[in-house]
Symmetry: C2
Subunit: 479 residues, 2 copies
């Protein structure tokens, strides 16, 4: 059990061979103790209680796709029986019900282990904006763990659980994946119900999935996605199976004038290598001017949308400002002088920027970007709590404002052994397309999973063709 | 020429028989003089100039569907060579180019006669909020002309031009139609480009069409609609030809508990008669609770969206408040205390209300409502400039916030001889469906057109079937 890679196929195989979920749960807690990072969980479930739930599953039921699978949940998502804090102790409440998505996963047989740490109220990409102990990056404790889904990223990277739930507004489901050498799947907005989730920016939030492999992340996506009439932002988003990608995809990348690595040439070399891989696979690479996308990205924290964050904690900021993390306070207070007129002007500007970007985006099937331009250390953030965070969002902040889906996927390690990661992005509804291509990238990466020594997966048998355009059927090419 | 009904088929027939556009233009100006209402036009084109443009058309060109057709344009829509005032003289500017929609209509051979009066900055449903002389209702000068497209409604009702352009945010393209016994077509948002239009609420505005008949209004719709990359709000909206409607449409009407006539039993009887007609035609009538729709309606002026109006005249309100109509000022100043946080909360509430209304709306193909609950006189508005205006918007204010298309169509005159009108509404993209059904209603109305003695049209030959659902093809039934 100690050597068992915690991926869905490995666990399913173990269960089919007679492993007991109680033993798997015991191994989860052994690994937690072994990792010994008090920053990962805000609330760790009592081990006996988790084992008791595992035992209550009875005999192995292969019809339940997550039977006996342990997972962790970011602490801005409700799990009945555990407090929800959003990393603000004074905000803590005891939810009566599981969040809609959590309930679906539990119904599929999964077992919640605990609630993970985050940048308070999910405002940040660094993971150090929490009053709880800061989770350590799973690969290098000097580097930030990434946020806001810090604990959910780190817990998967250590192989403690095969998947976790994060949330993603500005990139909180992608940046921790890049920093911890794992997969971060950010669904199309509305694919995952927000019922039982503490909002960050309600119009832009989504639950996200961290996993070691694309297949595992997408399996969770398929199980979790469902239309929820109780959530006004829920939408019917297609979730077809992963499939071979068409050979001649047109893939947009930031053009030479607009690509940004903040001076990190190693990151540039890593990205260039991935682009070369994509060309080898038959893709046509299309340089795209990212200037309008960066302008959109800046609107998230520097424009009207910060008022959505203010809407969540307005009373708290006024009545109990001391309960809000000082950096979070600085950010959210930017909403105070903004008028409703400013908000609508922001919406107009967003529309104009999207229109500006449209011709280039319409000319490609998807985008490939570095998940982040460079790495920052915990010390960098202590010196400047805002600037590095903003730069980490270069390739993530515009995504939800532009209604795209995306997946951050590890590629080969950089020449300095830091993890390589790119994000594939496409208009909403193409979750299957970006994941299908991400799968091809991960198998050629020749890496180990997360912070473990487990090898990356081999490409398993490939199913049907994937449609890359809303209005046409792509030709199936099995490779 | 004096007796020629100014409808598109009658004018086309006259041109085909050799009539001269110069003579038609001369007749337009004769009718203007005859009607003698100085409130209709803010800028009337010089007659000689209009005649000169008519002569420049050369020989009759049946390939140009609007060859030699005179029309009028609401004075918040640009026409090159005429000032745009939005009914605020101090706001006046000389546009260099025609609005996108005006240019398309002129390219089809139409001739602009002048710019029509409106409630200043298109804020109102009454037509009396203008510093220019108030247009008189074409049927009864005691009654308000309706607004904000007051002049564009009245000028068509008098038979001066066969069609005109209005705009519609809260109902400005529908209420004047009801008050003047004509058709008011309000397209799906984005079907008509907003390039060259003074915004009212930019996210909710559309140009609209007034005409004597549904066929004429829809013909203009088909010619004017086109995707405009320069307008960030432009969308690709289908514009299939009018067609026979399926026999068993499910038509929602306000249920007994939520229907509102402000005590006007004659209006209620008129509406009931139309509902009986629809039943006779084979429709299934489905009572719908309109409570959430009314809550949406109230958000337009009493909620966050008034900030969109403020965005248009913010500088003017601050620097030259005396140039703004006092009633308009009172309305738009409601935006001053609203914060960006309030704006997003408004957006959340709208989403929730739309979700509340969805199950009922999803159960019907379209809605039929009274265009307005009752009539108001100019004296009523002098006594209370706000209340009657709000009540006129009962069945119109929610429509653009809910992304619906609609058409106001005259039905049989009320028992007191005031004009009868209903509006058919459907989700965006069903412009053809609502117009096709409206056409069936107008032919059974047995009325005269506008304020003229011209008879209502006979139902001409009917083309192909119309699809009533996005996801299915309706069965063709020619009747």
């Amino acid at each position: 059990m100690r050597d068992l890679p915690f991926t869905l196929p490995a666990l399913r195989e173990a269960y089919a061979a007679g492993a007991s979920p109680k033993d798997v749960i015991a191994e989860v807690y052994r690994r937690i103790a072994n990792v010994n990072d008090p920053g990962i969980f805000i609330h760790l479930r009592d081990e006996a209680e988790a084992e008791s739930e595992a035992e209550s599953l009875g005999a192995f039921d292969p019809a339940k796709p997550l039977w006996g699978i342990p997972f962790a949940v970011k602490d801005n998502i409700d799990v009945a029986g555990m407090p929800t804090t959003a990393a603000c102790p004074d905000f803590s409440y005891d939810p009566e019900a599981d969040a809609f998505v959590v309930a679906r996963l539990r119904a599929a047989g999964a077992i919640v282990i605990g609630k993970t740490n985050l940048d308070q109220f999910a405002a940040g990409l660094v993971g150090v904006r929490s009053p709880y102990p800061i989770p350590k990056n799973a690969l290098d404790p000097a580097i930030v763990p990434g946020g806001s889904s810090s604990g959910s990223g780190v817990v998967v990277a250590h192989g403690i659980v095969p998947f976790s739930l994060g949330t993603d507004t500005a990139g909180s489901g992608r940046v921790p994946a890049a920093l911890n050498n794992i997969v971060g799947l950010k669904p199309s907005l509305g694919a995952f119900s927000a019922t039982g989730v503490v909002p960050a920016c309600r119009s832009l939030d989504t639950i996200s999935v961290f996993a070691m492999t694309v297949d595992d992340a997408y399996a969770v996506f398929e199980l979790a996605t469902a239309y929820d009439p109780a959530d006004a932002w829920s939408r019917k988003i297609p979730a077809p199976p992963l499939s071979p990608v068409p050979p001649a995809l047109r893939i947009g990348i930031p053009d030479a004038a607009s690509i940004e690595f903040c001076g990190d040439d190693v990151q540039k070399a890593s990205f260039d290598a991935t682009v070369a891989r994509l060309k080898d696979m038959g893709a046509a690479i299309v340089p795209v001017d990212f200037t309008p996308l960066y302008a959109v990205a800046r609107m998230l924290y520097e424009g009207a949308w910060v008022a959505e964050r203010h809407a969540v904690i307005e009373d708290r900021l006024r009545d109990k400002p001391e309960t809000v993390h000082p950096v979070t306070r600085t950010i959210v207070e930017k909403a105070l002088p903004l008028t409703a007129t400013d908000a609508f002007r922001g919406i107009y500007r967003l529309k104009d920027l999207i229109r500006q970007a449209e011709p280039a985006l319409a000319s490609v099937d998807l985008l490939c970007v570095p998940t982040m331009p460079t790495f920052y250390t915990v010390a960098d953030l202590e010196a400047d709590p805002i600037g590095p965070n903003s730069r980490l969002g270069t390739y993530t902040n515009f995504v939800n404002l532009m209604d795209m889906c995306g997946i951050a996927v590890p590629v080969a390690a950089r020449s300095d052994s830091r993890p390589g990661s790119v994000t594939l992005l496409a208009p909403k509804g193409r979750d299957s397309l970006v994941a299908s291509l991400a799968r091809n990238l991960e198998v050629v990466a020749g890496r180990t999973l997360g912070a473990t020594t487990w090898p990356s997966p081999a490409l398993s048998q490939a199913p049907n063709a994937v449609s890359v355009r809303d209005d046409e059927i792509a030709i199936a090419v099995c490779g």
